[in-house]
Subunit: 453 residues, 2 copies
């Protein structure tokens, strides 16, 4: 068992070699590490050092390292490569899905140039075709490398085919059975091939009750199907149900993680996928748009409140409870919208029917609102803020919690209906609206219940 190496250890060992240029030592050190582990240290070394490493491991491993790099690093890395080098030294060693991923991060012109350097014209054409799919649909997630056999073959013919394609297809989990027009007829597990007599017809062990996806199915749909039916691979077909590729679960895991990250970022008010190691400029740019939304909202609040300047000057204590009313509205709204957003994402939402949900949300928020209001009322009475003001604050609180909860329930459902990412509704957007409305309600109630103060 050769378990995983720590990034720090490799970095410690490799640094002196990178300055001494001891090629033999470098080679023997790199032999001990997996490509994924070598890729890890690329954040911490210079571009020319990275190239030095890549040039001194065997081709297949070099390509595996490049494939494992973060997209940002790949982009930086390929700036130092000519189109010809990328075509011949990199893409030639990669599966088509990884090749397309790399082509898609290159500037369009360079990508086309790379394609022109690929010797196998058919392969270049199919890469070009795959480039047309967005990277969040089945066609963008699939790879072309798969083992396909004809439905009238025997098991031993299938084994021969696997042997032929073994070099091109790294990992075989299933064999796809097609007819003469490439139409997908079924799937055979490798286990059944191992366990069957060589002379029987493959159709006898073929599962014809399989699940496939169209090339234009969304990544979410692919993830949902593979997750629900515990699939390791899923075949991709065109509109004529001809087999055009297959998606493996590891690509879908990446997709699921990216989707979850996106929701988390939207909820936190980040407009791009940023990491703390990004530049100050990128970090600022990702954060500023949502801060602006908050700022606009704040200006809105200030205008609302300015209508109540007289009330405040009459009873400055009104100002004491502005934050609690605003904050509680924000909190309750985000809770409601998060429940809906998660239900939409996990497909656990029974129906998208808004009305019954609003009814329930009303009950829940009324209950929580009353509990919070009662506690606040007791505190305010104890602290001697007077009966009238305490009643106003608590009435405003329960109203705002109910309003914010209903708004938090409706907004993601409406966004979803218009095909906008509902996770938008869990972020600063909903908090900001709730701030404004909450404060308006609070001061209006104050004016009504406290009389013409």
């Amino acid at each position: 068992m050769n378990n995983v190496a720590s990034e720090k250890q490799l970095l410690l060992e490799i640094k002196p070699i990178l300055t001494s240029f001891d090629v033999e030592l470098l080679k023997s050190l790199l032999l001990q590490y997996r490509p994924e582990d070598i890729a890890d240290i690329f954040w911490d070394i210079e571009l020319d050092e990275a190239k030095f490493i890549i040039n001194h491991v065997e081709k297949q491993k070099a390509v595996e390292i490049i494939r494992s790099l973060d997209e940002e690093l790949q982009e930086r890395f390929f700036k130092g490569y000519t189109a010809q080098e990328i075509a011949q030294d990199v893409l030639g060693f990669l599966d088509s899905d990884d090749a397309v991923d790399i082509l898609s991060i290159l500037p369009t012109q360079k990508a086309e140039e790379v394609l022109s350097y690929i010797e196998d014209q058919d392969y270049a054409n199919s890469l070009a075709a795959m480039l047309h799919y967005d990277d969040d649909i089945a066609g963008g997630l699939m790879a072309k490398e798969l083992v396909q056999v004809k439905y009238n073959w025997t098991v031993s013919q299938c084994i021969e085919e696997i042997r032929k394609q073994a070099e091109e297809v790294d990992s075989v989990h299933a064999v796809y059975v097609v007819d003469d027009r490439s139409i997908l007829k079924g799937v055979v597990s490798l286990k059944d091939i191992v366990l069957s007599k060589p002379h029987i017809s493959v159709i006898e062990i073929t599962n014809i009750n399989f699940i496939a996806v169209n090339a234009y199915a969304t990544g979410e749909e692919v993830a949902r199907l593979m997750n629900k039916y515990d699939l390791i691979t899923i075949p991709v077909v065109d509109s004529m149900t001809r087999l055009i590729g297959r998606i493996t679960i590891d690509d879908v895991v990446d997709f699921i993680k990216e989707e979850a990250d996106k929701d988390f970022q939207l909820q936190a008010g980040l407009s791009e996928n940023v990491e703390s190691s990004d530049s100050v400029y990128i970090l600022s740019r990702a954060r500023l748009p949502w801060l602006m939304v908050g700022l606009l909202g704040g200006l809105g609040s200030s205008m609302i409140i300015s209508n109540f300047e007289g009330d405040i000057s009459h009873l400055p204590k009104m100002a004491f409870f502005m934050p609690v009313v605003a904050a509680m509205g924000g909190n309750a709204g985000v809770q409601s919208s998060a429940i809906i957003v998660q239900g939409l994402a996990n497909n656990t939402l029974k129906s998208k029917n808004i009305l019954p949900k609003l009814g329930k949300e009303f009950t829940v928020s009324l209950l929580n609102g009353l509990i919070c209001s009662a506690i606040l009322l007791s505190f305010n009475m104890l602290l001697g803020h007077g009966y009238d003001l305490s009643i106003v604050v608590s009435s405003a609180l329960v109203t705002v919690i109910i309003f914010a909860s209903l708004l938090g329930t409706i907004t993601p459902l409406v966004l979803d209906k218009f095909n906008i990412d509902p996770a938008l509704a869990t972020g600063p957007f909903i908090t900001t609206i709730n701030d404004i409305v909450g404060l308006g309600v609070y001061f209006l109630l104050g004016r009504i219940l406290l009389g013409a103060i």
Copy 2:
């Protein structure tokens, strides 16, 4: 190709049968649906209807349906089953990992009773042993069902072994090679077995440079390894590196999704995993704790502000800008903490060294703070709020954004150091603290800069 059925359609077709009790019709209808699809409608039917369905599909399919149910539904469902029925009719048809999942949702006493009804004493013992692992570590995620072969066997002996275990092990992706003391020596892919001559020794095609995990490795670590090295299965070993189980990627996908959901919930201020279909009581209970945190924070704010009652009564306009200061602090703080939390979760955080991060965060927040303050200043001057007040508001804004950003950076790192889920720092907790501090800073600045107003 028999693609996926819609839940609605099945429900529509099955409802009349459930009232007419037409067994033959029911059987033929259920034959057309996958177990995962049948499980979907269990939310919408009564318990006795569910049992009626389970009793009229073949055993293996019935168990697949039960396995696919949501944990909450399983719990409800098993209340109507005796320990003996669960042992014989359900667990007997499941892989060990799924069996343990079901045992773990039963009350302890019933689980023990179920174990006593399992005829194969060795199997019962191993289930009992697996029950001791938490469900978020490798031991709790693994299944015992795997194909293991001895290192001195030939390929044809391996194929014989796969055949023997074929009934027990549904899907075989890899074969594990062990020595006489069960110590894991390597992994063989099924593809290599298919492609090898029957008489060669399995050790010749064994990959000895494999990755395994200890039974006590965290689920996060398992997910990270499988994701990084694109693994479909990973073997689990004990402290002596003896093979005790294997984890497949589909269980890890579930784990990754649950973890992402947990972070999302913490960020939204939900204390349990709830769905909009949960009862009002459960929904309220999940939401109330964080509302209480917000409430306490609001009380804190009100006490801080009450110290400035004189200032407010003197200059009621001060109240106009309380919301913008509080909200912007909250937004900036959540942004910072989300970046750190995501870095911790995705292992992209170079070092956990706090100081350089704070330096960068200071620059980013100073930049964003200055931009926001400048905009707010121009607006306030335009709206005629006067130079003095406008300067106070904008100075407070930049101070609060910087403070909140630094606090948002530190908090998750500190929580992580104490092994508390850092995602806690992205929720109402950080917003609440920022509200209080922000308003304090604002009024203090007001008092200082506006003189003794």
